[in-house]
Structures are given as C-alpha cells and as structure tokens.
C-alpha cells in the first residue's frame, strides 16, 4: 500500500496541534487572524474579486461558486451572513471536525465574508445534535470578542460585527438554505420558493443574505493568505482548492480526508481509507452523500474524482460524503435505509415528497422482509418518476426542493445495478444474502 501525502490546508492545524488547535492562542501562534486584519484594509470589490478568482465552490453540496453567490447580494442593507453548520446528510461529518477542532478558522472566515459583504450581523446555525461543536464554537467566539476581533470596533477599526450561534432542533431539511433561513426566523424549516426567495435578494427577514457552509467559510483565510492563484493550483482544473472527503462504511480507516480533486476512487477507497474490511469485496459506494446515485467498482473505480466526472457518470460529488458498501450488504436494505432517511426528513410541504418518499420506503421494507411482489420494482420506479420526472441526474423535480428527488437515487441505483438481487428477494421471499 502506498499513500501519497497531499498538502493540508483546512486540517493542518488540527493535525499538527491536536491538543489545542481550537484555542485562540494556538490559532494566533500559527498565523491566525492576520487575514481578517488584512481584509479590514481591503475594499468589498477586492475581496469579492479575490474569492471569485480563487474559484471557491460552495462546499454545501450544491456546487455553486461562492464568489458569484456573493456578487449577487443585492442592496438594500442591512445584509446578513448565515453560516450553515446544519450538517446532517448521512455520511457527512466533516463540518463537525472543523467546528470542534478549528473554530477560529471559521470565525476568521466569517469576519472576511462579513467585511466583503458589508455584514454586521452573522449567525452560525449548528445542528442541535452537535452540542459539543457548538460549545467549542461559542468558546472561540467568546475569545474573539474578548480579543476585540468581534463586537464593536473590530481590530481597532470602526467596524462592528456580531456573531450568534443558533442551535437547530433536529431537521435535516434545514441544511437547505431557504429552510435554514425560515428556521432561523423561528419558523418551520420548510424550503421557500425560488424564485422569488433567493437569499441574496430576499433572505433572512426578507433582507439580502449570504448563506455559506462551514467548510466554505473556513477556506477564506487561506485564500487570502496564499492568494487566489496558489489556492487554485491546489486543486484540479475547475475544482479549485482542497476538498474534505468523509469516508464511512465498510472501509478499514473511515474518516475525513483533505485531498485535492482528481485522484481516483480506487486511490481514495483502497489507499487512503485503507481498503475493504478483511475478507470482503467492494460492492458499491455512494459517492457524494446519501442523495447521490450509487457507483459500482466495475464502472467507476478508476474514474478521477472531479465534479464533472461524477456528473457525467450520472451522479455527483456533492458534499463529499463517500459511503462504501461491501459484498455482505443487502442492497435492498441499504436502499431502504437511505429512502427512510429522506421520508423521515421530508418537511411535508409538497405532495410528491411527503407521500411518495414514505410509500417508497414502505415498498422497500416490504421487499426486504420477503413480501415483495414482481411488480414492485417497476412500481418503485414509477413512483420515483412522479417525484423526479425522467429519473435523470441532476434531477427534474415535481417538488420545491431536491429532497424528494434525492430519495429516488437509491431506487434508480437498485434498478440499474442490482435488479437481480431485488428479484431474488421477491422470488425467494427473503433476503438472498441471509
């Protein structure tokens, strides 16, 4: 086994200083807050341009340019910055590491993003099931206030910036940016209609709002430090910078790995994550979070990991959550578990998602229990088609947001690669894997 070492950017401090990477002292001793200080002397245009230049793609999974997102921000002020720390998609656990282990990195990013967008009020929305990361962030915020990096007159300027941590209440859908805004307004976390409620124009309290993911914001100090070109060079073509992969499932070394785009799936699964558990074979993996259509070794193992390659193969890199399944896995059960997640997390606004995801979960559970019928897979596909017409990726939707269509991916993946396994459940009246 050969493991190439790749440059670490976001995770470097926590790797080198595991005992105190979360403290202000360590953060400043390793160059922290210099970029925020520098940003105070830059114009909004300079900052937005630098981020645009860097090609930084939002790390929330939607794959949109962060700099472009900023440039859409419409007058009038006040504007808000909301940092999305509602990480909840099965397989994803990287924001938790960034929040717990290097909170000042994110706070410095918040200062830079706020200055760039003339924001004086920022909120960090952290999922309720992350109390420990929230505590770490709050301690870091308290340190930053005490040091004069947050509050009135930051870094001795006349700029005021307040940051508030807001805990979620247990709802995956709040990771969707408009649902998150509703939640922060004290409403049900239901996605808003886009148009007209694009956050950059009508966001929090109907005012212009930037919603950026934790990892996205954490990248900002590094972009300013190394410059847009150097940051770009870390990446691969259009996928600039490094990327955090969360690898879980049947591999020897699950974990978060900071890597450049462009390595292959084989390298990620077999070299970096240590390969399959002893005596087991790779059966399939989910490449980009639970909503992504699945990949299989026969077709995808030597594919380079880039946004475009994943897209062309009918799936996505999304949030970089890679869930690896070995040959002991019942694919019907795996699909049921993923669909169950989306059914459970459906906000219930749109009929197709509210009714369809639960129906699909019920059918899959029935097949898994050995009560499937020959018509069930086609029924599943047709129900899927009524949520996501044409079953294409990226999906068409009969719904407001992509949650419903996300539940379709396991079903189309089953039909594409594991039809025989499904049929065996039906004909044998039980799971063929025992």
């Amino acid at each position: 086994m050969t493991t190439t070492t790749y440059p670490q950017v976001l995770t470097r401090r926590m790797t080198e200083h595991p005992a105190d990477s979360h403290t202000l002292a360590r953060y400043e001793a390793t160059g922290g807050y210099q970029q925020a200080r520098a940003a105070m002397g830059m114009t909004r245009e300079q900052l937005v341009e630098t981020v645009k230049e860097s090609g930084l793609i939002g790390r929330g999974g939607a794959g949109f340019s962060a700099g472009m997102k900023w440039s859409f921000l419409a007058p009038p002020r006040p504007s808000y910055l909301v940092v999305n720390g509602d990480e909840s998609e099965p397989g994803t656990f990287k924001d938790r590491q960034l929040l717990e282990r290097d909170p000042h990195q994110m706070i410095e990013g918040i200062i830079i993003a706020s200055v760039a967008n003339e924001v004086h009020e920022a909120f960090i929305y952290i999922r309720g099931e992350y109390p420990k990361p929230a505590r770490r962030v709050q301690h870091a915020i308290d340190e930053a206030y005490a040091a004069g990096y947050l509050g009135d007159g930051i870094f001795g300027s006349d700029y005021q910036l307040d940051v508030t941590v807001h805990l979620g209440g247990g709802a995956y859908i709040c990771g969707e940016e408009t649902a998150l805004i509703n939640s922060l307004e004290g409403r049900r976390g239901e996605p808003r209609l886009k148009p007209p409620y694009f956050p950059a124009a009508k966001g929090l309290y109907m005012l212009p709002t930037i919603v950026n993911n934790v990892e996205t914001v954490s990248n900002l100090p590094h972009i300013l430090e190394m410059g847009a070109d150097a940051y770009k060079a870390l990446g691969h073509d259009k996928d600039t910078g490094t990327f955090l992969f969360s690898v879980s499932g049947h591999v020897k070394r699950p974990g978060n790995y900071e890597l450049p785009h462009g390595i292959t799936w084989r390298e990620l699964i077999f070299d970096i994550a240590g390969g399959m558990l002893d005596g087991r074979e790779l059966k399939a993996w989910i490449p980009g979070g639970a909503s992504a259509p699945w990949f299989v070794p026969e077709e995808h193992l030597d594919m380079p990991i880039t946004k475009d390659d994943c897209g062309q193969a009918g799936s996505m890199l999304g949030s970089g959550a890679v869930i690896v399944m070995d040959d002991s896995t019942c694919m019907v059960k795996a699909a049921e578990r993923v669909v169950r997640f989306f059914a459970h997390e459906s906000c219930g606004q749109c009929t197709p998602c509210r009714e369809g995801t639960t129906w699909m979960q019920q059918i899959l559970a029935r097949i898994e229990e050995g009560h499937g019928r020959a018509v069930d897979l086609d029924l599943l596909l047709d129900v899927s088609d009524n949520i996501s017409p044409g079953l294409a990726w990226p999906p068409k939707m009969t719904t407001i947001c992509p949650l419903g269509p996300s539940a379709v991916s396991p079903v189309t993946s089953l039909a594409k690669y594991f039809r025989e396994e499904v049929e065996a459940h039906v004909t044998e009246g039980r799971c063929p894997l025992g």
Binding site: G348, R354, N386
Partner: protein, 802 residues
C-alpha cells in the same frame, strides 16, 4: 394598474396584468388547470403540485407550478403535455393513497375538487397496498367547525386564511412530513369570527361545519345568489336550500365587497329563517296574551285602530319604527305608508344607535370599500369593525398587511385591528369632541398620524364607537375628514339593510332617494307622487319613544323592529310601547317588542322574498327568494298595502317589482334603476352616487364623570336573529363588565367578582373581567346580552362592588 403582458397558454395568446399567477390567467381565459392549494385570494405557496405546467425556457421545457409563476411578457406555457399529465396523475395518486374512501358519507362528496379531479385526471385503480395513515376523527377545531384529518390533503388553505386574511393564527400544521397534520392548541380552539370560511375553501371534506354536517347532498341543493342579511357591507352570498329549508350560506367572490369571505355570523346566521318559533298566523291581543286570527280580521282591526288614532289625534300621533330588516321595496312601502297613508314623518330605521341619517345616506365625498385598496392612510374612528362589520374588517386588514397602507385607529378600547394599526389612540367615551380637536390640531402624540392624513388618498371609516357616544361626534369626525386635502368618507352603521332603509326615507328628515326636507322642489315632487307629505321633519327613534311614553304620540307601527332589545334605553322602549294606545308589529317572531303589540302580523323573511338591499357604500344588490315563507306569512310591502287599502288610501302596489318600479320613477338617487339592471351587474350590484351632504362640524360638550360607560355591540349578541340561530347564540360573550385592573383595584374587586353598574336608565349586576386596554375610569359592557338589563345611553355611570 400593472402593465399588460402577453403570454401563450397551449398555443393561445392571452393578455393579462403582469404578475398575475399564470394559473389564474389561464383559468380566466378558459384553460382549466387543476389545483388544490391555490386560492386566488391567498398568497401562492405551490404546495400541492397539482397545477404543474411546462414552461419554455432557453434551457428547454421546465416543469413548474403555475400558481407560483407570475405572468411575464412572452411566456409560453403548456398545460397538457405528456410530462404534465404524468406529473398530475402522480400527484393525484399521492393524494389518494392516504385519503379515505368515504365519499358516500362525506359532506363534500359531489362538490369536492379532489373527487372531481380524480374523475378527470386520476388513476383508474389504486396501486397502494400498504396501510393507510390513521388519525382520530373527527375532532372539533371550534364550536362551528370539525376536522377530519384523514381526509386532509395539507393544502394549508385554512392555515393561510387564518393567518393571512383573518389575522387569527389559531390553526396550524404541526409535525413534519408524512405525519404532518392540522391542529389547534389545547383549550385554544380556532374561535375566529371567520372560521367558517375555511370550510368553504377546504378542497376536500376535511373541514365541515356543524351547522351543515350530514344535512344534505350537494346534488339535492337548489341555489340562488343573494346578499347577506346581517351586515351592512352587502356581502354577496349563495343560499343553498333543499326541501324548502335553507341549509347553508356560502360567500361569493364579489371583488367590490366581500371577495368571497363571510363572518361566521353571516355564514351560520341562516338558522333563524327555518326556526320553529317563526310566526305563521296573525295574532290579536287577548287580555295578557294573543289569539290567532284571520288576516281579514287582523287587518281590519289595524285599519280601524290606526284610523281612529289618526282621526282623533292626527297622523303625527303615529310613530314608525324599522325598515332595516327588510328589502328596499319593503322599506319604501313603509316610508310611503307613514307619509302618504298615515301622514306622519315620525319614522326611523335607526334604533338610536347610529350616526345622523344624512351622514349615512348622503355624505360626500363618499368612499367605496374598494377605495381601501388604494388608500395610503386609513382613518378608523368608529366601531370595532371586527365586531360590527366583519368583511370590512378583513378588507382594512388586507390593505395594511398586504399593501402596507397606514392605519390610524381611534377607539375607547382595543379593537381587532390594533395589531395592524400604525397609530392607535384610546380615549374615554364622552371625551370624543376634545379628542378630535386635539387630533385635528396634530397636538402631541397625534402629530405623526395627523400628518399622514394630509397625504392622500385617505379613506376615513366613520361611525359610532359605542352607544354612549354623542351621535354627532361621527358627524364631527366626518367633517374633519371632509376637510382633508384628499379624503373620502365611508360611513358605517350596523344592522342589515339600514342604508337601504334610509335611502328609502325611513328617517325623519329624508324622503326616498336621499331627498332632504330642506329641498323644497324635491319635496314638492313627492307630494305629487304620494298625494301628500307632511311639511316638516319628524322625530327620530328616541324622540318617538319619549313621545309615546309621555303621551304626545298615541300609536306605533313596528316593521321588523325590536326597540326593546335594540335601543340603548330598552326600558324607555318598553314604557313607550306599553303606554301607546295601539301598536301593530310586522315581524318574524314574537320579540320583546312585538309581544307588547296589539296586533302582530307574520311577515316573510330573508330568502323568502325578492328585492334589493343597499350597502354602506350605497351599492344596490339583489336579494332573492329560494324558500316559501312559513304558514300565512306575507311580505311587508303587501301587508302595508293591505292596511292602506282598508284605510281607503291604497298605495298601488301589487308586487315587489311594482314597488321597485315606483322607486325607479320617484326616488332621485335610484332613478331608472331596475332589478334587471342590478341583476346584470351581479354579484357586485350597482354603485349609486347622489351624495349631497357635506358634514359640518358640530361641537359637543365632553362628559366629566369619575366613571364612564363604553357600551358597544359584539358580533354575537341577544338580537332576535342570533337568538334564533342556535349554532351562534351561545357564542355571545354574555353579561360582563370590563374594567381596567387599576379601576378594579380602586373599587376593591377582582376578576370574577360582581359589580353593579348604574347607568342613566337602568342598572345591572355583572361579573368583572380585566381589560388593560381600557383607559382609566371606563367600564365596558357589551350591549344586548342575554339577561342584562339595559343601562341607557348616558356616558356617566356609577360602578360599585356588589
């Protein structure tokens, strides 16, 4: 008005206002798009996904809901592609998988959008073999509305109506996803005055009305359009009846008036029509009671007794009360009867509870309800609209909430619109003139609000804030408003067809068609038409009651009037009717007043006769017949004509339409207005102008007393129509004295204790409730509640611990 744009729907080019939801544009132009959550009077939300269409874009066809798609120039929309058909079929299947198949016992069956669209677009058979979702059913969400959660499709129309339109967010979706359902909070029901609208707009049978549940099948119903008989806003309604029973009122979307909405009083207050207590035969006094008689005997007796009074004391010894509960035609006949047959100008449709008749009937410049939609500032100095003019309340609310109009509310206590008011001023009853003077000068706290009124357009909604207020205060407020640079006045008063009755001359100083006694030429014209008209204005209701009580007057004619319950000094009304030599009452019921009469004649009621109503804007709309009156009932105009003939002065009417014809001929403001003209403009009716009255500012004294009384009406009370509508009567607040906690402390009482309120004309012992919105030194007592003696209209009162 927004710009017009051209869009193409299924190959047909249509022109619509920019921003109109495409679904409305398509449907208005003949292309039906199925939908459940969309309602053109609610904000679009795009939840049910039934109205999906395909929109041509540079990136190809995009599937999008048409309810959330605002029309813009050049859009090309397809509503019937294979993709659209498939998606809609899918949505219907999703909605049906958990929907019970209880259509045969569901109230909505037969008029159910889900049922209809399943027939049109749905799957032939169910592919769903799992177990359906179950909920407890049905559960009451209010006294009037029941919820069946299994039928609910979570379109959120009820929730949105409650929050967006009614301003009563008491019904909500709770839980999430597949478990989401509609709920009210424990011990806090959806007790909105407008709850019934949710039943009407529910696209399935999830919300049903207790008053209608299981009463009829839609296909057995006969329907007729009409106008609401309760409020003065002229709400367009549809009356549903079966087997000669009125079973339901529904609102009709008339843009100018109610836009489809009704208050629960209007919606469920139909029950009195079919009440078992209705009078069906003439009654003639027999000792302390009545005996039934024939029409001939009763009419002869009335003619003889009235004739005797007129002969001995003159026509001006006869007082006429009422007219507001019937049609314009009935009111005209009453007006003519009093002037031409009896020879008296003592006639009043107001029950000593309304502003000046000239202000109500002929103020200028007069606003329409629709003017609220464009007003930059609305001044509301009058009744709590939520209690007294429900749909007008909704319209003001909408102007503020949706459009950001500024709202100034001046009232003695909290009102339903306070949460939307830009400025709210509270004052003690009896200090209205001083308050107005300070307000008009823009002194102190009034400065900003006063300034807002200088920028038009302003609509001033003017009426009496309560019954202890000097009625001329409303005239003074109107005079102030008339002096603003760009303001119009919308006068409000309560009770059914009050505005129509005043227009027909049921007022001591007005003749039909808004003619003043000061206009000699017009009065002369009436002399020609009526034969004779008294040469001076008569007495108003309180004057007539005093005259009867002290013997100056000798006889009374009550036409749908119940002064004992309706005037602030009910005891005076009782004394007056008891003192009178002769009283004849035309009524639906034996009321506290008609039971004091010598002869009671059974009248036809609402939905039993045809005619017109006039609303508070001066808008004339039709009322129509759908059931026959019970027993031997007759319409008012016909009864009055019969009496007139027996008195030797026939009025010349042989049908309601002949009355209407005479109105169109002789009443100036109604010149040439015929039923067919009104029908042609339905559901909105015909807006009349003809205002001539520019209010002059009277000054009045302020009342100086330690405690003053605020006596105001509530939506539900002990009036006869409410008493006979069993679904609603128990919702009245009952007798209660509201006190500021500080006053209560001073009096040594707390909530639930009894106090005695000694008014100008009577006293009542009432339980105390706190109302911190009251100014100090004010006791608020809801008017006309069961078992509460009348207190009188005087502002100064005494309150003491009982």
């Amino acid at each position: 008005m927004a710009d017009l744009v051209k869009i193409t729907v299924d190959g047909k080019e249509i022109e619509v206002e920019a921003g109109t939801p495409v679904i409305d544009a398509a449907i208005d132009n003949g292309t039906y798009i199925p939908h459940f959550c969309h309602h053109s009077r609610l904000e679009p939300v795009g939840l049910c996904r039934m109205c999906l269409v395909e929109l041509e874009t540079p990136r190809g066809m995009v599937l999008t809901p048409s309810c959330t798609l605002p029309a813009s120039e050049g859009q090309v929309i397809h509503t019937k592609t294979p993709v659209v058909d498939k998606a809609q079929e899918g949505v219907l299947e999703f909605l049906l998988i958990n929907h019970p198949l209880d259509c045969p016992v569901c109230d909505k069956g037969g008029e159910c959008p889900l049922q209809d669209q399943t027939l049109g677009y749905g799957p032939g058979e169910s592919r769903f073999v799992e177990e359906k979702r179950h909920f407890e059913k049905p559960v009451p969400v209010s006294d009037l509305v029941l919820l069946d959660r299994e039928r609910c499709i979570l379109c959120s129309r009820c929730v949105r109506f409650a929050e967006e339109v009614a301003g009563d967010p008491l019904i909500e979706i709770t839980a999430r996803g597949n478990q989401a359902h509609i709920e009210t909070f424990p011990d806090e029901p959806f007790s909105s005055y407008f709850s019934g609208n949710t039943v009407q707009i529910c696209p399935v049978g999830a919300l049903t009305a207790t008053a209608y549940r299981f009463r009829a099948r839609p296909w057995d119903l006969r329907k007729v359009e009409s106008t609401c008989p309760h409020c003065t806003a002229g709400e367009a309604i549809e009356i549903d009846a079966s087997q000669n029973q009125v079973l339901r009122f529904n609102g009709i979307d008339a843009d100018a008036t109610n836009q489809g909405w009704l208050s629960d009083k209007c919606r469920f207050g139909f029950e009195f029509i079919g009440s078992a207590e209705r009078l069906t035969v003439p009654l003639v006094r027999d000792g302390d009671g009545f005996r039934e008689s024939t029409w001939a005997e009763a009419l002869d007796l009335v003619a003889e007794r009235l004739g005797a009074v007129i002969e001995s004391r003159g026509g001006e010894a006869v007082a006429g009360f009422g007219g507001a509960r019937g049609t314009n035609e009935d009111a005209y006949a009453f007006s003519k009867f009093m002037r031409a047959v009896v020879g008296s100008n003592h006639i009043d449709a107001r029950m000593d509870d309304a502003p000046a008749a000239e202000l109500l009937a002929a103020v200028q410049p007069r606003a329409t309800i629709g003017d609220l939609d464009t007003a930059s500032t609305i001044l509301l100095w009058g009744p709590d609209l939520k209690e007294e003019a429900g749909t007008l309340y909704l319209r003001v609310r909408q102007a503020v909430q949706k459009r950001g109009a500024k709202l100034v509310v001046v009232h003695p206590r909290r009102t339903g619109l306070d949460d939307r008011a830009t400025w709210k001023f509270t004052y003690r009853p009896g200090t209205g003139f001083g308050t107005l003077e300070a307000f008009a000068s823009g002194a102190g706290d009034f400065a900003e609000a006063r300034k807002a009124l200088d920028e038009g357009p302003v609509v001033a909604v003017v009426g009496l804030t309560g019954m202890t207020e000097d009625p001329t205060l409303a005239t003074a407020v109107a005079a102030f408003a008339a002096g603003l640079p760009d303001a119009k006045i919308l006068p409000v008063a309560r009770r059914s067809n009050t505005f129509g009755a005043l227009d027909m001359g049921c007022a001591p100083g007005l003749l039909p068609g808004r003619v003043s006694f000061g206009d000699a030429d017009a009065v002369a014209a009436f002399e020609a038409a009526f034969g004779a008209v008294p040469d001076h204005a008569g007495l108003d209701t309180s004057g007539m009651l005093e005259g009867l009580a002290n013997g100056d007057l000798a006889a009374a004619v009550l036409v749908g009037a119940d002064p004992v319950r309706d005037v602030p000094d009910g005891a005076l009304a009782r004394r007056a009717l008891e003192a009178a030599d002769f009283v004849v009452a035309l009524d639906l019921f034996l009321t506290d007043s008609s039971s004091l009469a010598d002869v009671v004649l059974p009248a036809e009621g609402f939905a039993e006769k045809e005619g017109t109503f006039t609303n508070l804007e001066g808008r004339v709309s039709k009322v129509n017949r759908i059931v026959a009156g019970p027993g031997q009932t007759q319409p008012d105009w016909s009864i009055l004509e019969e009496i007139a003939r027996r008195m030797g002065r026939p009025m010349g009417f042989d049908s309601a339409e002949t009355v209407a014809e005479e109105i169109a001929t002789v009443a100036p403001a109604y010149a040439d207005l015929r039923w067919r003209d009104v029908e042609r403009k339905k559901p909105e009716g015909v807006l009349l102008d003809g205002g001539w009255y520019t209010p002059k500012a009277p000054a009045g004294p302020d009342v100086d007393a330690d405690m003053v009384l605020h006596l105001a009406r509530t939506l539900y009370d002990d009036g006869v129509a409410m008493r006979q509508s069993l679904s609603l009567h128990h919702l009245a607040p009952g007798g209660v004295a509201y006190l500021h906690p500080g006053d209560a402390e001073r009096l040594g009482v707390t909530e639930g204790d009894q106090v005695v309120v000694v008014g100008s004309a009577g006293e009542a012992t009432l339980p105390v409730r706190f109302d911190p919105s009251l100014p100090a030194g004010v006791v608020y007592v809801p008017f006309n509640q069961a078992g509460v003696p009348s207190l009188g209209a005087g502002a100064a009162v005494e309150v003491r611990s009982a």
